[in-house]
């Protein structure tokens, strides 16, 4: 378990490099998947809700510092996303979730929460159309992220050693 804690932090940095250099090349009409979210959901499910919440906060903190986004916005959004992903960290079911397409739905849910909250703190004003905001800024990038998370389902070991 301790190895997983360390790995979840170490993996963040190469993933952030990929997120900021390679992922823009696969964007569709300005919509990009969020690899950090996939990592967060994975470890929140593996290591528990408390760890997921703290990890979300930590990822958001680093992301805000490194990419120059509004300091605190990603922290807040990812903390909540990590908390929600942690709900699915039931010891008996976690392997089933990770080996099935339920994982995609969990990633979608967490991504939408993350993106909508992020949008709420940055773009919201009196003229905002909430349905459009939910669809354009939440659902579309969320679906793209969820689709990419299929690789976790495919490559996750069928029988977990731990």
């Amino acid at each position: 378990m301790r190895l997983q804690y360390i790995l979840s932090i170490i993996l963040f940095f190469p993933l952030l490099v990929i997120q900021t250099t390679i992922v823009p090349l696969i964007s569709i009409n300005g919509i990009t998947p969020d690899l950090i979210m996939i990592l967060l959901v994975f470890y929140a499910m593996k290591c528990g809700q408390m760890y997921g919440t703290v990890l979300g906060f930590f990822y958001g903190f680093l992301f805000d510092l490194i990419t120059g986004t509004l300091f605190g916005s990603t922290m807040l959004a990812k903390t909540l996303a990590g908390f929600i992903a942690g709900y699915f960290s039931n010891e008996n079911k976690v392997d089933n979730y990770l080996k099935s397409y339920s994982f995609l739905l969990i990633v979608l849910l967490c991504s939408v929460v993350d993106l909508v909250i992020g949008a709420f703190f940055t773009t919201i004003d009196l003229n905002t159309n909430f349905i459009l905001l939910f669809f354009n800024q939440g659902m579309l990038p969320g679906i793209y992220t969820a689709v990419l998370s299929i690789f976790i389902v495919i490559f996750y070991p069928k029988r977990s050693i731990s």
Binding site: F61, L65, L70, T123, D125
Partner: protein, 276 residues
């Protein structure tokens, strides 16, 4: 007492941690403009950008061949344009000297490469491989061959972060090139819009939008985009003008930083005027 706290902690620890972290995040949101936070941010992205620049160099090498072909074509087209503009330039300087106007069109350009991009629907930023060592300062406009890209937000010694036009934090004074109408342009998360344009104003789809000389940030006419539509708000007297930017921010790889910063002298004069 300690047993009660311990019991509360055991039963609600996830929620307690969540609330505590959310409060810290909200406090962080309120600290955005603090110089100490800006300093820490510039240190953090400066260190990280060193890694991303390596990856971005590798990606750029792969694109060099196709880009060279495009650039050759563009070069030929520009050569034709330059010879045409040179004629206008000569005429212009002659006319200016006749009128006794000062030439204000000389702005040094600092070339830069984009080494990483943080793309989201509301806060697009790009990181450049030049920083304060190269003379870059916060507030300088960033352009490419198509037009305005954004404004430098933070710099470290060797790197700088640019808020692109597709960033909700950036608001810019722009002008309709045809009708000379000024307005404030911002990114609303989905579109670039010029807000609060009176319905009686002459703005039409197809009009080119440039930065306005009223802007203290970018007082040079730089191409921004083209009007693609008017969102007619049924109630009220204002329209929102939708603008399609000339620059494709996702594909942008090479840019120039325009070495001008917001005019403190003009700002000072205006502030004095308002204070009186």
């Amino acid at each position: 007492m300690s047993r009660i706290f311990s019991s509360i902690w055991e039963n609600f620890k996830e929620y307690i941690v969540l609330v505590a972290l959310l409060i810290i995040s909200l406090i962080a949101l309120s600290l955005n403009q603090k110089p100490a936070v800006k300093k820490v941010k510039s240190l953090a992205f400066g260190s990280f950008a060193a890694f991303t620049s390596v990856i971005s160099d590798v990606i750029n090498v792969a694109n060099v061949k196709s880009e060279n072909i495009k650039l050759r074509k563009l070069n030929a087209e520009l050569m034709l344009k330059v010879s045409e503009l040179r004629q206008y330039g000569i005429e212009n300087s002659e006319l200016k000297s006749l009128l006794g106007l000062k030439d204000t069109t000389q702005y040094p350009l600092i070339p830069a490469s984009v080494i990483s991009k943080s793309i989201s629907k509301y806060q697009n930023t790009i990181t450049l491989n030049i920083g304060s060592k190269n003379g870059v300062e916060a507030g300088m406009p960033v352009i490419n061959d198509f037009g305005m890209v954004g404004i430098v937000a933070t710099t470290s010694n060797d790197f700088s972060i640019v808020k692109t036009l597709e960033n909700v934090e950036l608001k810019l004074t722009v002008k309709d090139e045809r009708s000379r109408i000024d307005g404030i342009m911002k990114w609303n998360g989905s579109n670039l819009i010029i807000v609060d344009v009176p319905k009686t104003y002459d703005v039409e789809p197809g009009d080119r939008i440039i930065t306005s000389d009223l802007s203290t940030i970018v007082a040079v006419p730089l191409p921004v985009g083209v009007v693609v539509g008017l969102s007619k708000i049924e109630t009220g007297i204002f329209n929102e003008v939708k603008v399609k930017p000339f620059v494709d921010f996702i594909r942008t790889e090479h840019v120039f930083v325009l070495r001008i910063i917001e005019n403190k002298e003009i700002q000072g004069l205006e502030l004095n005027f308002y204070n009186h």
